[in-house]
C-alpha cells in the first residue's frame, strides 16, 4: 500500500525486557474504515493499539497519522481516543463528568461541553443517565459511557481494546451492531482489537490476523475466511479440514491433478504449481458433502465412518474418521424436508466436496 495511508505504522519494533513483541511491523489503515486486529492473546495486538494511542513508545520505526508523525507525541496530545477493555470509567465522577472530561481538558467552553456531551450520550442512547455514577450502571451501560467518552472528542481514530469481551453473549451481539452503526454514523476510523474471530468477521471492513508479533494476513473478512494465506490463518478463523496433497500434473486454468492420500483429485488453485509440489487442500466443514455409503453411485469420495454427530440448532456437526486414518469435520445445514435427518454412530459414509470450493496453499509456507 502507498505511503498516503491515513494511519501508517512503519517498521515498528517494540521490545519489552529485550524481548521484541513487534519487529519491523508495518500496518496501513484507511480513513473511515472499521479495521480489526485479530489474534490469540500475546500476539502483540494490544501493543499495536497502545503504540497508536501513545501509551507505549516504539523502540524503532514511526507512526504517521493523517500526514503527521505522531511517534514521539505524548498520549494526551494525540488525536486518538481509546475505549478500554475494563472501560476505565472514573469512579468518582458522574456519567456527565466522565464524558465531559476530555472536553474540559481541551478547554472547550462550558456551554459547548454541555451540548456535545448530550450529543455523544444520544449517540450511545444513554440520554437519561447523566447524573449516575459508574457503579450504578450495568456492564452494557458502562460500555456505552466509555464509547461516548471517547467519541465526544471527535478523535481521528477510535481505538477499541477487546471492548466487548466483558459482556455476555447476547449483549455482545447487540453491541457489535451498535458499534457498527456508530461507526457509520460518525465516519471515524475504528481500530478494534479482539481475539474473537466471529466478532472480527461480522463487524470489520478489513481484518489483520496477527501471530507472534507478525502480521499473517490483511484482507476483507471474506478473503480471510475463504482464502487464508497460511495454515495459521486458516485454523485461527474457524474450523477447517486440512488435507495434505502432492501435485501430479498441471492442467489448464489453474486446474491440477493431485494425489490426496490414496486417491487422485482434480483441484483448483490460485497460483502456479509444479508437479511434485506439496500443498494443503483446505476445506471448511460446511464445504464438505456427506452421503450414506449405500446411496453413493461412485466411490470417488473418501470413505469413512461417523464417530460423532451433534445437533447445534442450525446445523448438524459430524466428525468422520476416514479409512485412511484422517479425521474430518463436516457441518451440514438442516434440510427442512427431512427433520429426522441424523447419522448413527459407526455409520459408513462417503465424503466429498463441490469441486472448486477448496482452497489450496503451498505446504512450505509459514504454518
Amino acid at each position: 500500500m502507498s505511503s498516503s495511508s491515513f494511519l501508517a505504522l512503519k517498521q515498528i519494533t517494540k521490545r519489552f525486557d529485550s524481548h521484541a513483541v513487534l519487529y519491523e511491523f508495518d500496518l496501513n489503515i484507511e480513513d473511515g474504515e472499521f479495521f480489526t486486529i485479530l489474534g490469540p492473546s500475546g500476539c502483540g495486538k494490544t501493543t499495536v493499539l497502545r503504540l497508536i494511542a501513545g501509551f507505549e513508545a516504539p523502540d524503532e520505526g514511526k507512526i504517521v497519522l493523517d500526514g503527521t508523525d505522531i511517534s514521539r507525541l505524548e498520549a494526551e496530545k494525540r488525536p486518538t481516543n481509546t475505549v478500554f477493555q475494563s472501560y476505565a470509567l472514573f469512579p468518582h465522577m458522574t456519567v456527565f463528568d466522565n464524558v465531559a472530561f476530555g472536553l474540559k481538558m481541551a478547554g472547550v467552553a462550558k456551554a459547548d461541553i454541555r451540548s456535545r456531551v448530550r450529543e455523544a450520550l444520544a449517540v450511545v442512547q444513554l440520554t437519561d443517565f447523566e447524573q449516575r455514577k459508574p457503579h450504578q450502571l450495568s456492564g452494557g451501560q458502562k460500555q456505552r459511557v466509555a464509547i461516548a467518552r471517547a467519541i465526544v472528542n471527535q478523535p481521528k481514530v477510535l481505538l477499541l481494546d477487546e471492548s466487548l469481551s466483558a459482556l455476555d453473549y447476547k449483549l455482545r451481539k447487540q453491541m457489535q451492531i451498535e458499534l457498527k452503526r456508530i461507526q457509520r454514523q460518525l465516519g471515524i476510523t475504528f481500530i478494534y482489537v479482539t481475539h474473537d474471530q466471529e466478532e472480527a468477521l461480522s463487524m470489520s471492513d478489513r481484518v489483520l490476523v496477527m501471530n507472534n508479533g507478525q502480521p499473517q494476513q490483511v484482507g476483507t473478512p471474506r478473503e480471510i475466511y475463504e482464502s487464508p494465506r497460511n495454515l495459521f490463518v486458516a485454523r485461527f478463523i474457524g474450523e477447517i479440514n486440512v488435507f495434505d496433497a502432492t501435485i501430479i500434473e498441471a492442467r489448464d486454468d489453474f486446474q491440477y491433478l493431485a494425489q490426496i492420500h490414496d486417491k487422485q483429485w482434480v483441484i483448483h488453485a490460485n497460483q502456479r504449481l509444479e508437479p511434485g509440489d506439496k500443498v494443503h487442500v483446505l476445506l471448511r466443514p460446511e464445504d464438505l458433502r456427506i452421503e450414506y455409503l449405500e446411496d453413493a453411485n461412485e466411490a470417488d469420495g473418501m470413505i469413512g465412518e461417523v464417530v460423532e454427530s451433534n445437533y447445534t440448532g442450525k446445523t448438524l456437526d459430524s466428525v468422520i474418521r476416514l479409512d485412511n486414518g484422517v479425521t474430518v469435520q463436516a457441518s451440514e445445514f438442516f434440510n427442512e424436508d427431512d427433520p429426522d435427518f441424523a447419522y448413527k454412530i459407526n455409520q459408513r459414509v462417503w465424503v466429498n466436496w463441490v469441486h472448486g470450493w477448496e482452497h489450496v496453499i503451498k505446504a512450505d509456507e509459514l504454518s
Partner: protein
C-alpha cells in the same frame, strides 16, 4: 442430631466469645469513660456522684484550653509533615515493581520492631548538644556552636513524625494499590497532562487513604506523652500528658475522662469524614469493604 448440636455449640461459643469480649473490654469501658466524665472527682473512690458538667467547663478553662490548642497544633503539624513525606513516598513506591516495593515497605517497618520508647530515646541521643546532628552541623560549619534541638517543639515533632510515619504510608499505599492504572491511561488518552491527572484522578481517588492516614497519625499524636516527656522537656505539651497526669498523678479521673471524650468526639468526626470520602470514590464494590 448430635452433630447438629455440636455445630450449634461451636457456633454459639464463637459468637458468644466475640460479642462478650468486645462488649466487656471495648464497648463498656468506652461508655464508662463517657460516664465518668460527668462525675465528681474523689480521692478515695476515683469518681463519685453527683453528675456535673464541671469537668468540661474546666477543660475549656484557659490553662487547659491552651494545652488543648497546643496539642492540636503540634499534632496538626506532625500530620502535615507526615503526609508531606508519606504521600510522595507512597506514590513513588506504588509505581515500582512489586518486588522492589515489597522490599522497601518491609524496610520501612523494620525499625518498628524495637519498642517505640527506645526509638524515641534514640532520637534523644541524636538531637542532643553532642549528638550526631549537632556534630554534623558544627563540623560542616553551618553553625558555630551546637544548637538547642532537644527539649523543643521541633524535637517533639521530629519524634512524633518518626514514630507515626509508617502509619501514614500504609493506608496511602493501600489507596494507591487500588488506583487502577487504566484510569490514568484513560486520563492521558482524554488529553489530561500530568498535573491534571494528579488533580482530577489520582488525588480524589487516594483521598480515603489520605484521610485514613491523617486519622491514624493525628489522633495518636495527641496522646504520645512519652515523646513529649523525653524530647519536649518540662512543659506539658500534649493532651496525653494531661490525661496521664490526671489519671496517674492527680487522680482526677472525671477530668481526665472529659479530655478523652474530646478525643473520642474528634475521632468520631474524622471517621465520619473518612466514611464520606469513601462514599465519594465508591468503586464497583471495592471500597465498601470497610465494615471489615
Amino acid at each position: 442430631m448430635k452433630a447438629f448440636i455440636a455445630n450449634l455449640n461451636f457456633r454459639r461459643l464463637v459468637i458468644t466469645l466475640t460479642i462478650s469480649w468486645l462488649s466487656i473490654f471495648v464497648l463498656l469501658p468506652h461508655l464508662m469513660v463517657v460516664g465518668t466524665s460527668f462525675l465528681t472527682a474523689d480521692a478515695d473512690n476515683f469518681a463519685i456522684w453527683p453528675i456535673t458538667l464541671d469537668n468540661y467547663l474546666k477543660v475549656l478553662d484557659d490553662t487547659y484550653a491552651g494545652v488543648f490548642w497546643d496539642s492540636l497544633v503540634l499534632s496538626g503539624i506532625t500530620t502535615v509533615i507526615a503526609l508531606g513525606i508519606g504521600y510522595p513516598f507512597a506514590f513513588l513506591l506504588s509505581r515500582m515493581t512489586p518486588a522492589l516495593r515489597a522490599i522497601l515497605l518491609f524496610m520501612m517497618v523494620i525499625p518498628f520492631w524495637t519498642n517505640s520508647l527506645i526509638r524515641i530515646y534514640a532520637i534523644k541521643m541524636l538531637l542532643g548538644k553532642k549528638g550526631l546532628f549537632n556534630l554534623v552541623l558544627v563540623s560542616t560549619g553551618i553553625v558555630d556552636k551546637p544548637v538547642q534541638l532537644l527539649y523543643t517543639d521541633f524535637a517533639v515533632i521530629f519524634g512524633l513524625v518518626y514514630i507515626l510515619l509508617p502509619f501514614m504510608v500504609l493506608p496511602l499505599m493501600a489507596s494507591f494499590d487500588k488506583l487502577d492504572q487504566s484510569l490514568l491511561e484513560a486520563g492521558k488518552d482524554l488529553g489530561a497532562n500530568a498535573f491534571h491527572r494528579f488533580r482530577h484522578i489520582i488525588l480524589p481517588l487516594t483521598m480515603p487513604g489520605v484521610i485514613a492516614g491523617c486519622l491514624i497519625v493525628f489522633l495518636p499524636a495527641m496522646g504520645m506523652f512519652y515523646v513529649a516527656d523525653l524530647l519536649g522537656g518540662a512543659r506539658s505539651l500534649l493532651l496525653g500528658n494531661v490525661i496521664k497526669n490526671q489519671f496517674l498523678v492527680a487522680r482526677d479521673w472525671p477530668f481526665g475522662s472529659a479530655f478523652s471524650v474530646f478525643l473520642i468526639v474528634l475521632m468520631g468526626l474524622l471517621l465520619w469524614l473518612y466514611y464520606k470520602a469513601n462514599q465519594y470514590v465508591q468503586k464497583q464494590g471495592g471500597m465498601d469493604d470497610q465494615n471489615l
